[in-house]
Symmetry: C3
């Protein structure tokens, strides 16, 4: 009958809609599972990368200096979203004796480049303390390096390379940063180099 | 009959789906109302906090200097999302007479620290003009302080503390910033201190 | 009959729901089409703006210098979201001969302002290489200009105006930036000016 036909059609429509909803639900569940797998995968990769960076530090024979203390009434870092603003860091080696001197007068450019390396390592000590794990470093975006030097000294880039090379060696591509290197006639505590940084991290 | 049963079932399925949709709509409306309440609550909290900061300024006996004017063809601020980049600010007290001098020559470190305080207060005047209400300041993330000084002067941190302490006193934890303090042989208009800032705000 | 009535109602409900779904689908398609139109419109506006900026450059008689090379082991830029951190740029004119000198000694403030303009144009060359199209520049947020000068020189703002004016001329309001201008006793390769930038772009 026509009546019967109408009922059958209406039920077919309902079945199709239920089927369609079931498919949607299944896809949603699949998507959620896939996301969970991604997270698990990321965690696994995190562990692998962690071992990698810590291993790289020891492979390079690098011992991080102890965490520095602010030389005034400020903080070593400030977090804005996934961005970390870092204070100007000074060249404190692991022995705790701050490097001092003015390039072209009481310290050579070569030794100032070593000072720049220590600034970078102090930045990395701060990152480790702040982020817990150096594998949370996503990108070293920016360094500004100030070189305490005599008038006429013009090789600030070579000095600050001591820091830039260190970032590349340790973090690889994540250590590739934009940079300014400038001279100055005077720095805090008569250090030869002061370096500040902007770093992106993952939560 | 079987026919009747089928019809009843199909109608039950339709009713259930309509009910499910009604529940979803109700939840959506509830979520929207809840969001509205949150906004109202935030506004109320904003009012309370506003009273607090303005009161703190008067409790500290601080009168903000008049809004500065750019010393060149630039702007005092630039907004990027919830971030505000601030130009280098100079030490202009409320009397409008710019502080001048080179530390170690024509101005003492103590007076330069006062100049640094005025730089901070000029930054705060700019923030008030830009944000309308100082309670919209979420965080002072970064200061860079340049100290005009003779060769060999090495107490730039003490000078810039004049600004950092001011930020802490006024904004509390929201005033805790990362910082660089460096020397320089020359600054605009022969000021002893110039300070720039990066500040997060809420819309 | 009652039976017949029930069937008719249930079918009406199904029809209404199908109609409702059809309307939703239509609206979704309309939204998608509208979005596509917006994109097309943006592209068209992009082309118009592109012509505009490129035309403005040629109207101003400006030829961009060739893309610079980093003077050390760093990158010219680093991307963080829609933000671009740019390295300190030097005053390299189109002839490839780097401008040198110390203001107040071997170069005049007027020539140093021309050097600042070349720094800005080198920044723009980097932006073009990095973003493909200068119309992707959303905002020049921040410049920091370092002026290599003798002690007592106090017109750094006038020197750095050479860069700021260039940004305004080329980008209009998108070129309005916050700025710091400071002196220094020494810069890389003895240039009179070094300028770094923070720029927002669209993907």
């Amino acid at each position: 009958d026509k009546k019967k036909e109408i009922i059958i059609r209406s039920i077919q429509v309902i079945k199709m809609r239920l089927l369609s909803q079931t498919i949607k639900s299944s896809m949603a569940i699949a998507a959620r599972l896939s996301a969970r797998n991604r997270i698990t995968l990321n965690n696994r990769m995190g562990v692998i990368r962690h071992v990698h960076i810590e291993k790289r530090l020891s492979d390079l024979g690098i011992e991080l200096p102890p965490l520095g203390t602010p030389k005034g009434s400020y903080a070593l870092t400030s977090r804005q979203g996934n961005l970390l603003y870092l204070a100007g860091h000074l060249p404190m080696p692991t022995d705790g004796k701050l490097m001092v001197g003015k390039v072209g007068d009481t310290i050579s450019p070569e030794d100032a480049a070593i000072a720049a390396k220590w600034c970078a390592l102090n930045i990395i000590s701060t990152l480790k303390a702040e982020l817990g794990d150096l594998d949370n470093v996503v990108k070293i975006h920016k360094l500004v390096g100030f070189v305490n030097c005599v008038d006429g000294f013009d090789a600030q880039p070579k000095v600050i390379n001591g820091a830039s090379d260190t970032m590349f060696e340790i973090f690889g591509d994540a250590g590739r940063h934009a940079r300014s290197a400038v001279g100055t006639n005077a720095l805090p505590l008569n250090v030869p180099v002061e370096i500040e940084a902007i770093v992106e991290f993952k939560g």
